[in-house]
């Protein structure tokens, strides 16, 4: 097999992998879309009295983590392995901080229980499902970070890095819609 054939094969696999990942994300987006519609239907033009400042803080953490993830992926694509390791580590720390903010603080101070009313059911379902995705994203990033540390990726071949980054940004996009839906839209009920 010539090197040209190997290269073409990798390029083809990369395109197929990308399509597969995006199809998975699309299917996941439908699930999150269902949760979003549940919120619109059950809460209507009201929202629970949540700590808006805390909402802003955790949202900022996630947005900044996306910035560092983008930086990390760019670094890997340009042969800067140290830059990738640094950027990914910051992303992981911010992801864990987001989880601590939502689960460790927001869940504890929420003025309702999970099965108390529609506010509790929707809030815990939306934030819980999202937090689960953040957690899997953090695990994914830890695996990729460890592999990169061992020198398993190169400028030409780092599909796992791209996949982890795209997945992380997807989790960010979901929160971009969940944040106003939970904390900003509607009158306090």
């Amino acid at each position: 097999m010539t090197s040209n054939t190997v290269s073409e094969s990798y390029a083809h696999r990369l395109a197929t992998n990308r399509l597969g990942l995006w199809l998975f994300l699309l299917s996941d987006a439908f699930m999150f879309g269902g949760l979003f519609i549940t919120r619109v239907y059950l809460w209507g033009d009201t929202r629970p009295e949540l700590n808006q400042t805390l909402g802003l803080i955790v949202t900022s953490m996630l947005l900044i983590s996306s910035f560092f993830m983008n930086r990390a992926e760019t670094a890997m694509a340009h042969g800067d392995r140290k830059g990738f390791l640094r950027g990914t580590l910051v992303t992981i720390v911010l992801g864990i901080a987001f989880l601590a903010g939502v689960i460790g603080v927001e869940w504890q101070i929420a003025p309702f229980g999970v099965s108390e009313d529609a506010y509790g059911a929707v809030f815990f379902m939306m934030t819980g499902m999202h937090a689960f995705h953040v957690l899997t994203g953090v695990i994914f990033l830890l695996i990729v970070w460890n592999n990169a540390r061992r020198g398993r990726y190169s400028v030409e071949k780092h599909w796992a890095v791209e996949a982890a980054a795209v997945y992380w940004h997807f989790v960010d996009v979901v929160w971009i819609f969940f944040y106003p839906a939970l904390y900003l839209i509607g009158k306090v009920g």
Binding site: S7, E8, Y10, A11, H12, L14, A15, R18, L19, W22, D45, Q52, L56, T59, S60, L63, I64, S66, F67, M69, N70, R71, T74, A75, A77, H78, G79, D80, V155, E156, K157, H158, W159, E162, A165, V166, H169, F170, D172, V173, I176, F177, Y179, P180, Y183, L184, I185, G186, K187
Partner: protein
Amino acid sequence: MNEMEKQKQEKYKIGLIVLGLLALFTVGEFVISVTGNNWVAVFVVIALIKAFLVLREYMHIGRLFGGPEEHP
């Protein structure tokens, strides 16, 4: 500075600009809400713009339609 380093710095710059815009929109929607306004349409438009920025600049959705290509 070699060509690859230049490209990297350029992409870093774009990433920073996107973060700035995301921060601006996020603070904007926060201020709209805490000042007692409930402009649902504005919140939806802001969320769509933010999502578009992340999809385009961070997730590189364009790669999906570009056909087979190698990294970077």
